[in-house]
Structure formats: structure tokens, C-alpha cells
């Protein structure tokens, strides 16, 4: 007579290898992920020279020389730059050109770009 063998008792799944893999995954994601956030700014270096019609002529010249900022020759700083620009633009003349001189650092340029970004309807060109 054929007697069916009783099925062997199922072995419990080993937890050790599971934990191994999970630890490896955890380690990978911990080491390879970053939590820093980034912002970007448009860098549109305008070409110097060339014929320009009157309507394209910039209405604002922002010149940066280190900590020395000037709008159309008038001294400005981080606190009043935005206000001064808002006061002097109109819908027809809203084109600003940034000129960097001397030892202006990239950080200073970005600080200015950040202020200009908050002004509605202003077109900004960075002169080479």
C-alpha cells in the first residue's frame, strides 16, 4: 500500500539575510542622498556693442564694483536697491543692464540678481 509521506514541516524564513539586504539598502540611500536644495538664475550674457534701436536701449545701468553698487551713477546698497529701481522703471523703459567691474564676486552678483528677480516687469541683461 502506498502511503503519502507527510509534508516536511515548513522551515521558518531566515531573518538574517533579509536584515542584511535591508541594511545594505539603508546604507546606500543614507550615503548617496542629499538634502541640500538648489536655486537657479538665468544668466544671459548680452553681447556688447552692435546697433540698438532706441526702444532696446537699456533704461537702467546697474554697475557693481565689489561692495560699491550704482544705479545710473547713483550709489545704492542692498537695502534700497529694489526701491530705487522700482521708482525709476516704467512699462516702456524696463530694461536693466548689469555691469560688473573690478573684484565683484559671484556671490555679490547673485545677491543683486536675487533683488532684481523680485521686481515685476523688469528685464535684466548681464553685460559681458
Amino acid at each position: 500500500m502506498h502511503i503519502a509521506k507527510t509534508a516536511p514541516p515548513r522551515r521558518r524564513l531566515s531573518l538574517t539575510s533579509l536584515i542584511d539586504v535591508i541594511f545594505l539598502l539603508l546604507l546606500f540611500f543614507m550615503l548617496s542622498s542629499t538634502f541640500s536644495k538648489y536655486n537657479e538664475f538665468e544668466l544671459s550674457p548680452g553681447s556688447a556693442g552692435g546697433a540698438q534701436s532706441a526702444s532696446q536701449r537699456p533704461s537702467l545701468l546697474i554697475s557693481l564694483n565689489g561692495e560699491n553698487w550704482r544705479i545710473n551713477g547713483e550709489a545704492a546698497d542692498a537695502l534700497n536697491l529694489g526701491e530705487k529701481i522700482r521708482a525709476s522703471i516704467t512699462p516702456e523703459s524696463n530694461h536693466a543692464v548689469i555691469v560688473t567691474r573690478g573684484e565683484t564676486s559671484s556671490q555679490q552678483l547673485v545677491s543683486v540678481l536675487e533683488i532684481l528677480r523680485s521686481i515685476e516687469g523688469l528685464r535684466v541683461t548681464i553685460a559681458r
Binding site: I19, L25, T34, Y38, E40, F41, T104, S105, S106
Partner: protein, 128 residues
């Protein structure tokens, strides 16, 4: 006669609890972090508070002295522009905060001229 009771067997630590915690950490890192492309360690990034948010970029790194690197290796402008895929609609540069602004603008202009694509400057976002 009084016999000393055999010491109680130490209870096994709950493996399930351990796995639970590790799983939670794994999920946290999976969701909260983004995979970071290699950054240039020599660069102290430009900081900004506002701007267009972007994920960690595959960028061209401009060091303080104007030398270029990408993916942790020194590179040249031509090499980088050639190596970057055609499918990238915009190219990104990432600069040290002390880089002279002139140098940065010059570099961006060269990249733009070579690739014919718009160039954006990526900065690290900091809390105000």
C-alpha cells in the same frame, strides 16, 4: 531542602522590532533625499534665498581660480560641452562664491556660444 531556582533564560530580543525601525529609516531616506551627483569638494557654493528651485544639477563647476571640473574630475570647457547630452535643453554652471563675477560671466558666455543653449547659474538654497 531549598534548591536554588535555575536562572531565567534571557528573553530573545525582538528581531521584528529592529526590522521595523530599519524599514522606517529606509523609507525615510528613500522619500526625503534625492540622489546626489558628485559635487566638487573644493567649491564653496554661492548662496541664495529665492530663485527657481532645481534638483541637484549635473553641472559644470567653476572654481575660484576659474578652473573647471565636472563629476569630480577636472575638465575643459570644450570637453564638457561635448560630453553633455544633446537632449539637455539648458546647461547649468555652479560656481564658487568667491569666483570673480567677470570670470563667471565669461565662462557662461563661452558655454552658450559653444553649445547654442541657454545657460543657468545654480546656487545653494539657504534659509533666510
Amino acid at each position: 531542602m531549598k534548591l536554588a531556582r535555575p536562572p531565567a533564560k534571557p528573553k530573545r530580543e525582538g528581531t521584528i522590532a529592529l526590522i521595523n525601525i530599519v524599514f522606517l529609516m529606509l523609507i525615510f531616506f528613500l522619500i526625503a533625499g534625492t540622489l546626489a551627483p558628485p559635487l566638487d569638494r573644493a567649491i564653496d557654493p554661492i548662496q541664495s534665498q529665492a530663485g527657481e528651485p532645481v534638483p541637484p544639477p549635473q553641472a559644470l563647476f567653476v572654481r575660484e581660480d576659474g578652473s573647471l571640473s565636472s563629476g569630480g574630475q577636472e575638465t575643459s570647457l570644450e570637453q564638457w560641452v561635448k560630453g553633455i547630452g544633446e537632449d539637455q535643453p539648458v546647461l547649468r554652471v555652479f560656481a564658487d562664491r568667491r569666483t570673480p563675477a567677470r570670470l563667471l560671466i565669461e565662462t557662461a558666455a563661452k558655454v552658450e556660444a559653444r553649445s547654442g543653449k541657454p545657460v543657468r547659474l545654480v546656487t545653494l538654497k539657504v534659509q533666510p
